[in-house]
Amino acid sequence: MALRELSSLEKFLGLKKPNKYSTQGGKKVPVLQNNNGPALIGLVTIASHLVREAKRPELLGDRAERRAVVQQWLEHRVTRLDNCSKEEVKVILKDLNQYLEDKVYLAGNVFTLADILMYYGIHHIVMELAVQEKERYLNITRWFDHIQHYPGVRHHLPPVAVLRNRVYPSGHH
């Protein structure tokens, strides 16, 4: 799972040489063997490294405040969203929906790595939401649809039909 995400991220970033990854432990934490130094371990660590390698630092935030918000959502992804129970999913969705009420992207009005990794991590959850649930979590569905249409992000994931009678009718890809 994480490895496909990293490979999609590499494509999004336009990195020419695909990296070789392995995983570690029962949770299959991604490991990047780095020629120039010690191996890098962890999805957030590796993803941030790739972004810097691709010289796209703005995806990590263009100033300290934004960098912190981006990092916070990257951490949220790997600590709360990954491996969460069915009951926790509801809480996570409710909170995220509330948070996104007045925002276009997770870090406010600019697209960042936080949007990419949260989108990859939440995809399987959003895909299984019933129509009524998609309506209940309207801000998430709006954000999600926005990200899945962002050029070059979706890659390994199937598109999710969002809402009927909305700006993006299903099948519009």
Partner: protein, 215 residues
């Protein structure tokens, strides 16, 4: 900028230490555990840092990283990796272990929970030839990991095992005045006892490890 903290909250140690260490000027307000007005989340989250641009940070590690960032210490691969490991591996074990020590008096079981992450840290530190985790000088990684381990490793009844490298590093970081002050402010010299109220209010899901640790 304003920092909201709660009494006896172990997550506040790292944030207060980072604040002090970087000499960042910031109002600090102690609020009660029940207050949740700061961030609109289902479970009240503390500490919370209100940023100059009006946004809130609710992740202790991101608050620490921010305080180092504005003081000129940017995140590196090494600091990111330690912070990610702390959040995904160490923190769940620490919370479960603190729960056992403070609320159930099970120090032996608590030590068993910590064995794996502490061994990993010991191995990593013993291979290094720098006094600190990510560099020659103290970094956000040292403060975050030290603060996470402080309530347990400073408890004389907690038998963490041999861990020579961990002990040496733990004392180096703990020797910093900023770290001492922060620990004293949160634990009030009462050790894990000071964390009881906080731990009782933790949702069960956050004190149980969800799955087996890595490595």
């Amino acid at each position: 900028m304003k920092l909201y903290i709660t009494d006896g909250n172990p997550h506040c140690i790292k944030v207060l230490a980072s604040l002090e260490l970087n000499g960042v000027k910031c109002d600090i307000e102690a609020v009660s555990h029940e207050e949740k007005a700061v961030v609109h989340f289902s479970h009240p989250l503390f500490p919370v840092l209100l940023l100059p641009d009006g946004q809130h940070l609710f992740s202790p590690n991101s608050i620490c990283q921010y305080l180092f960032d504005i003081s000129g210490q940017k995140a590196t691969d090494a600091t990111n990796q330690w912070l990610e490991w702390e959040a995904t591996n160490l923190q769940p074990a620490v919370l479960q272990s603190l729960h056992m020590v403070a609320l159930q008096g099970k120090r032996v079981e608590a030590a068993a929970v910590m064995k794996e992450p502490l061994n990993w840290l010991e191995q990593s530190l013993s291979k290094k030839n720098t006094p600190f985790l990510a560099a020659e000088a103290v970094s956000v990684a040292d403060v975050v990991l030290w603060a996470a381990l402080y309530p347990l490793l400073s408890d004389s009844g907690f038998d963490a095992g041999e861990l020579r490298s961990v002990r040496g590093w733990f004392e180096r970081v703990g020797g910093l005045e900023a770290c001492q002050t922060a620990a004293q402010r949160v634990l009030q010299g009462k050790g894990v006892e000071a964390l009881k109220t906080f731990l009782q209010k933790q949702p069960a899901t956050q004190t149980q490890r969800r799955d087996s640790p890595t490595n």
